[in-house]
């Protein structure tokens, strides 16, 4: 494998340039950038395309739910003027109806937006903070690194959900609070990954060369090192989005989601209907759960493909 990669590398990335021929006869350079090649490879990876399709579909549900939903979000389904709660899946209600007779399918469609806003926002903040801290720790090392590492480890040793519940109970479960809490809890993990990447970069001679011409630490971190770890950040972001989706849904399930429980939300809907499973009425809770699972799978497919393309 090792060798085939090397060979591929030679074939694909290195423009063969005559070393010492007179400049005028040098052939025009192939300007295809590495990024363009990676993009092309991505769009040829089936798992990436499937992941992208899934995520785009949910995004569409989140943005224009009325296009996909068959019934309104809040009103029960009426068949011949009658509300039938807990109806099994049928042609009228594909995913059945819930305890108050609302269409589960439409609830799933309407419920997408909450997760799709909170999870990426939290992941984005976590990656931004983690990148900053990781750069500082990996570049300066020494006691800064030591102290911050210990703090990160302390946070990492506690269960995420438990911490989140504590914070949200104290500060209230507003959307902003949820996003910031999840971001804060994910930051140490991101920091650790970024720090490792920065450590490797810092060993490279271009950093030494920058120091030799008297560049400031800030310049070296942000302008020299940061552009070389964007791949790590992109992968880290997608992976964190996957985890954040779970966390957002779990918190909503525990009642720490939106204040209004009638608004469609996957986690909230599961929590309101999960005891019906015991009575054999699985559909009001299983379908939102499936929605979460499918979205997470989609995001992770993208994350895996990105990781593979960047590392390949």
């Amino acid at each position: 494998m090792e060798e085939s990669n090397v060979v591929q590398d030679q074939l694909e990335s290195e423009v063969q340039e005559p070393d010492l021929v007179p400049i005028s006869t040098a052939p025009a350079l192939d300007r295809k950038s590495v990024r363009a090649e990676q993009r092309r490879e991505l769009f040829r990876t089936p798992s990436f395309l499937i992941g992208l399709f899934i995520v785009l579909l949910w995004l569409a549900c989140g943005i224009v739910p009325e296009v996909f939903a068959r019934y309104p979000e809040l009103d029960p389904v009426r068949v011949d003027g009658q509300v039938i709660p807990r109806a099994a899946p049928s042609a009228d209600a594909w995913f059945g109806t819930d305890g108050t007779g609302r269409d589960v399918f439409s609830r799933v469609v309407y419920g997408a937006d909450n997760v799709l806003i909170n999870a990426p926002a939290a992941a984005l903040i976590a990656v931004a903070l983690g990148a900053l801290l990781g750069l500082i720790m990996g570049y300066y090392r020494g006691w800064v690194d030591e102290i911050m590492s210990r703090i990160m480890e302390a946070v990492l040793s506690l269960p995420v959900i438990l911490l989140a519940i504590m914070v949200l109970v104290v500060f209230g479960a507003s959307r902003l609070a949820i996003i910031l809490t999840i971001a804060g809890l994910f930051t140490p993990v991101v920091t650790r990954t970024v720090r490792a990447a920065v450590l490797t970069e810092s060993q490279l001679d271009y950093v030494a060369a920058a120091k030799l011409r008297g560049e400031s630490g800030l310049f070296i971190m942000l302008r020299e090192i940061l552009p070389n770890i964007t791949n790590v950040l992109v992968v880290e972001f997608t992976v964190r989005v996957g985890y954040a989706i779970f966390t957002v849904a779990t918190l909503a399930f525990l009642g720490l989601g939106a204040d209004d429980v009638t608004v469609a939300d996957w986690g909230t809907d599961i929590s309101q209907s999960y005891d019906l499973v015991k009575a054999g009425q699985w559909w009001p809770s299983i379908f939102p759960a499936l929605a979460i699972a499918i979205l997470v799978i989609g995001v992770n497919l993208i994350a895996d493909s990105l990781d593979k393309v960047y590392k390949g």
Partner: protein
């Protein structure tokens, strides 16, 4: 047009069925995105039992692929599309997988470049070596006993304790011995060595090569050796094949190939090497214009035609014939009778007087690291002076403190208090961050590996412009103009300025790195093995460039290298370091004439030369002492063959000026100091 088959090689090398390895018209492709790309285009050669065969050529010529393919060890996208490989009469290319596995376990052994990657870091050495014997059917205790014997056989110091150690506790040289010991488990008849000593020190390299030579004479195993260091090939091999773009272009006994090459490509390679005492004042090194055709390109006629000085219309239309020469050698060329007309370049680096004006003066520069409460003196009172426009070559084993000295000069590591660094008559602060801008500007560096030294997300233009603006304060259009000027001086084109380093070849990348070092008008540039990662033809171009730049800009160099040929070519003066101390310094000519320090003698004799074999190698046994625990008296006495008990191990030796400005730190009387060993060719002739 009919291709000339390699099987038509008119040299009788015996029955292929009795050869240790017979590669016959081997063709191989790598599948890239579903497209097959030619890598080997019909390679034929034979290794007789007990013979050592070397493959040489620039990177990408297919020599490593050939070695791997010989054991059918291919990457997943590699496919043999023609020809066959016979080992001792058995067809490797047609073997079922189970038989192939058995063949690799017992009849062949492979030693790779990096022993660290070849060993499992989590298992003890003893367990890993014994494993090789378990595979060939030995019981647990028998295998453990065999492992001990194997380590003894490769002359590892204290083999019994090595069995109980983990790989990270051993040095690179010891690890490579372990890997060789593992390879010997089945008493293989064929040893494939892929750059076995790259990454090892010259002295360690010499020992590993001695070991391979000794084992070969004991076991009569055949050897296939790949090495980019042509000196290693010459000292180790009986016969050498030259590869180019997936084809063999010439094959000859080693001595003849190096002394009378008969293919234009081989001649180009040989003229590119600084050898036989060549100095920059003698002539420029010859380079091979252009690049090797990339893997997969279509080559209908002579593979070398685009770069050949003899290329004629015939070469562009007809596949060249294989021409048999005397003594069982051959070359693949239309003009084999004219190749002797290819001459080395006449161009000289204009001579100039380095003069007495001192750019930088180091007085009593020391550097002590603190580790776990202990002082580790990595540099001990180094005195060195750099004249304007002078090249000082710095040689010594790894761990001798060469890089530490460079870093102390550059201010990356702050030298100890009391160290004095004087730049243009003004004292300079120890730390780069505390230095005046002129001092930062004055000292720049060319790193060993351009891949690491250039920011891969920056364009070449940005790399150079940033250096110009930060170091010289020139901004805007003036800086742009300066960048263009520098690029032109480095023979980089406009195209090259707007790409990122990844899109450039190794030689071009190193040009960019050199351009950056020169962009701020430095006074002194530290070159840390700037050509060790490059092919010899590219190395020649870089060395020419460095020599010319120095002449034009009167810049001084500190040139760190392991390559004695390179340092002799480029350096005006040479300093030899050992355990953080300068043991000897003097003009290059004086140093190679002698007398020299016993350490210099050993160092020079250890380096495998392309010109011949050292008549006797001065052994440099044992490991270099750690700076944490330097031997008392002369630090070299533990490995010195002239060691005088009661003197060398007690008193620090004096600095003796054996001739003007040639200083040796040694207790020996001047008339008893050694002179560098002479090299001999295969026919016993002594090289001047």
């Amino acid at each position: 047009m009919t291709a000339v088959m390699d099987s038509e090689i008119p040299i009788d090398r015996g029955d292929p069925n009795t050869a240790a390895l017979a590669v016959q018209d081997l063709k191989l492709v790598y599948h890239v995105r579903g497209n097959p790309r030619d890598v080997l285009r019909g390679v034929t050669f034979q290794i007789r039992p007990g013979e050592a065969y070397g493959l040489v050529g620039e990177s990408g010529c297919g020599k490593s692929t050939t070695a791997y393919a010989a054991l059918r060890y291919l990457p997943t996208n590699g496919e043999i599309t023609g020809g066959q490989v016979l080992a001792d009469g058995r067809n490797i290319t047609a073997m079922p997988a189970s038989e192939l596995r058995k063949f690799r376990a017992t009849d062949a052994a492979m030693v790779y470049q990096d022993p660290v990657q070849a060993l499992n870091p989590a298992l003890k050495i003893g367990k890993q070596v014994a494993e090789c014997y378990r595979i060939i059917g030995q019981g647990k205790e028998e295998a453990a006993e065999s492992a001990l014997q194997a380590l003894t056989r490769v002359h590892i110091a204290d083999p019994r304790s090595v069995l109980d150690r983990y790989p990270h506790q051993l040095s690179g040289g010891m690890l490579q011995r372990v890997v060789i010991a593992m390879g010997l488990a089945g008493d293989p008849k064929l040893l494939v060595l892929d750059e076995p000593t790259t990454g090892l020190d010259a002295t360690v390299e010499a020992e590993v090569l001695d070991l391979v030579r000794e084992l070969r004479s004991q076991t009569d195993a055949a050897v296939l050796l790949i090495a980019h260091n042509l000196g290693v090939i010459r000292t180790m091999c009986d016969r050498v094949g030259v590869m180019y773009a997936g084809r063999m272009v010439e094959e000859a006994p080693a001595d003849e190939l190096f002394d009378q090459p008969r293919h234009p490509y081989t001649i180009g390679l040989m003229n590119a090497i600084p050898r036989a005492g060549l100095r920059k004042t003698d002539r420029a090194l010859s380079t091979i214009p252009g690049n090797m055709p990339p893997i997969g390109s279509e080559l209908r006629t002579c593979v070398y035609v685009d770069r050949c000085p003899l290329a004629s219309d015939l070469c562009r239309t007809e596949v060249p014939p294989i021409v048999a020469l005397n003594d069982g050698r051959w070359t693949r060329c239309h003009h084999s009778d004219q190749v002797t007309e290819i001459t080395a370049p006449e161009e000289k680096i204009p001579l100039y007087d380095a003069g007495d004006k001192r750019v930088l003066e180091l007085n009593h520069v020391s550097k002590t690291f603190r580790q776990k409460g202990r002082d580790i003196p990595a540099l001990v009172s180094v005195d060195l002076g750099f004249a304007e426009g002078e090249t000082l070559g710095l040689v010594g084993e790894s761990g001798s403190g060469k890089s530490t000295l460079a870093k102390a000069m550059l201010g990356v590591h702050a030298a100890d208090p009391g160290s004095e660094m004087v730049l243009d008559g003004k004292p300079m602060k120890a730390e780069a961050t505390a230095r005046r801008r002129e001092a930062i500007q004055a000292l720049q560096m060319v790193f060993q590996n351009p891949d690491s030294a250039l920011n891969r997300s920056w364009t070449v233009r940005r790399i150079l412009k940033r250096t110009v603006t930060t170091l010289t304060g020139v901004k805007g259009e003036a800086a742009d103009k300066r960048v263009e000027e520098i690029a032109e001086a480095m023979r980089l084109s406009h195209h090259h300025l707007d790409v990122r380093p990844r899109q450039l070849s190794g030689g071009l990348k190193q040009r960019v790195a050199i351009a950056r070092a020169f962009a701020g008008d430095p006074r002194l540039v530290v070159c840390d093995e700037p050509t060790s990662a490059l092919d010899v033809s590219v190395q020649a171009a870089i060395l020419n460039l460095l020599a010319n730049l120095q002449h034009d800009e009167r810049i001084s160099y500190l040139f760190i290298t392991h390559d004695i040929g390179v340092v002799r070519y480029l350096a005006d003066r040479i300093a030899v370091m050992y355990v953080g101390r300068i043991m000897e310094k003097g003009a290059t000519d004086d140093l190679f004439k002698g007398p020299v320090h016993p350490y210099t003698e050993a160092l020079l004799s250890a380096v495998p030369s392309v010109d011949g074999v050292a008549k006797e190698r001065i052994p440099l046994t044992g490991e270099i002492p750690t700076p944490a625990n330097p031997p008392p008296g002369c630090v070299f006495h533990t490995r010195c063959q002239y060691h005088m008990p009661g003197v060398c191990d007690v008193e620090v030796p004096p600095a003796v000026e054996v001739s003007p400005r040639h200083i040796i730190v040694c207790h020996l009387p001047i008339d008893q100091m050694p002179t560098p060993v002479k090299l001999t060719k295969g026919n016993g002739q002594v090289v001047a």
